[in-house]
């Protein structure tokens, strides 16, 4: 029987990353959805970068940036005793950055597609921007919100390069399922690799099929 701790670690990482991205991503997506400016375009490009950047490149720069030997990494280690390299919090940071477009893009796109008059009607009723967002805008982008949450979770499950670069392969600390698959194959333990792969495949498939089924009648495309 394969050691299942990488699976639990992966689920924990995906859960924390998704929750953090939801908290940060909602206001950022809302801000990005309102009008255009050079600053917003630059920020959008930065958020989208992980989609096209090789994960190892991102991981390499995170490794440099948070190395406890110098710069920000040294400062964080000296002042707060926090280390992002070869630690679970490092995986969370890397996953947060790497999965950001999967949370923000669907929400931003859905908010932009809502007619501007919806928010305007709410303002004329005396409602604040916050109340309008929570009671009018957010409930009307539920399919996209669900898609964003599931895609972020599923994408974090499958991270490999960026996680390996900043976290390495420390059992119970940074060895997530995707790394455990690679590690098992390296050791020619195909049975363990198959167990991890099958569990990852099943979880991801169930998540994606759930989104498709839930959104089937609510969105024009299940991936909206």
């Amino acid at each position: 029987m394969a050691d299942l701790s990488p699976i639990w670690l992966t689920l924990k990482l995906a859960g924390i990353t998704t929750l953090l991205l939801l908290i940060v991503g909602l206001p950022v997506a809302w801000w990005l959805s309102k009008g255009r400016s050079v600053i917003k375009t630059i920020i959008e490009a930065i958020i989208t970068m992980p989609l096209v950047l090789p994960p190892s490149v991102l991981g390499f720069y995170l490794l440099l940036a948070f190395s406890p030997q110098h710069g920000v990494g040294k400062w964080l280690a000296d002042v707060f005793d926090v280390r992002f390299v070869f630690s679970f919090q490092g995986l969370v940071l890397a996953s947060f950055i790497y999965s950001m477009p999967f949370m923000i893009s669907p929400i931003r796109s859905a908010l932009q597609q809502l007619p501007a008059s919806l928010a305007q009607a709410s303002y004329t009723l005396g409602k604040s921007k916050r109340e309008t967002f929570l009671k009018v805008l957010l409930p009307n982008i539920k399919p996209s919100l669900l898609t964003a949450i599931v895609l972020t979770f599923a994408h974090t499950l499958g991270e490999f390069g960026v996680v390996l670069m900043i976290g390495g392969n420390i059992p119970n600390v940074t060895r997530v399922a995707s790394i455990a698959v690679y590690d098992s194959v390296e050791r020619m333990d195909y049975a363990a690799a198959n167990t991890y792969s099958l569990i990852l495949f099943s979880i991801t498939f169930i998540l994606v099929i759930t989104v498709f089924l839930v959104n089937k009648y609510q969105a024009k495309s299940p991936l909206e």
């Binding site: 008059s117 305007q120 009607a121 303002y123 004329t124 009723l125 409602k127 009671k135 009018v136 009307n140």
Partner: protein, 205 residues
């Protein structure tokens, strides 16, 4: 008295043009706004509501300055307490008829009165997607009235109603406007539509 003297640049097919409106409107008056398509009638209403900011001018309502860029005054929409009936209705897809009105007011008796006036009592638990065009338009009017506005801005509010429903609703609105002492601006394309309701006209070119 409502004093409006505004200028707003509009993007038009043939480049840019300027919407200019300068007028005084007594409180309690009902003004019909008409003019060709693209002349800026909706923009004018949105300027009054604070949803669009004019480049120049001022808006004063009952001696209270709502907008004047020179003095840095631009009262937020939320504080203008205006009722607005949007041309596309702007109904909230996630809310039922009843919830639309409850979102605007907590006065249950007033909600019942509105539902009765709009003949939507039996549809109170329906979401907009299950309403006909005319029912949606009536809901948009009721929601705007729910806050008991002193100033009501209506953008083509009767376009989807059949003649019978329209005249019945206009009759009730006329009484209600007097009760609320509301000042009303109504954009309309149909010259006959507001006969007997509007007491003044504003042409926007």
């Amino acid at each position: 008295m409502i004093s409006i003297d505004i200028e707003k640049n509009l993007k038009a097919y043939s480049g840019h043009r300027t919407l200019k409106v300068d007028g005084k409107f007594p409180m309690g008056s009902i003004t019909k706004i008409y003019g060709p398509s693209g002349s800026g009638k909706t923009t004018f209403l949105k300027c009054i509501a604070g949803l669009i900011t004019p480049e120049k001018g001022s808006i004063m309502v009952n001696e209270v300055l709502w907008f004047e860029p020179l003095s840095g005054v631009n009262l937020p929409t939320q504080k203008r307490a205006i009722g607005f009936v949007f041309q596309d209705y702007a109904l909230f897809p996630n809310m039922t008829v009843q919830q639309h009105l409850e979102y605007a007011t907590k006065d249950a008796a007033w909600i019942q009165q509105l539902l009765h006036m709009g003949k939507l009592e039996t549809l109170a638990d329906h979401k907009p997607i299950y309403l006909s065009g005319g029912q949606q338009q009536r809901l948009a009017i009721l929601r705007a009235l729910a806050i008991k506005p002193k100033l009501l801005l209506m953008d083509e509010p009767f376009s989807a109603l059949d003649p019978e429903m329209r005249s019945a609703l206009i009759k009730e609105l006329k009484v209600l406007f007097i009760e609320l002492n509301a000042t009303v601006f109504i954009v309309s394309h149909n010259p006959q539509e507001l006969e007997g309701l509007a007491d003044s006209e504003l042409l926007i070119l």
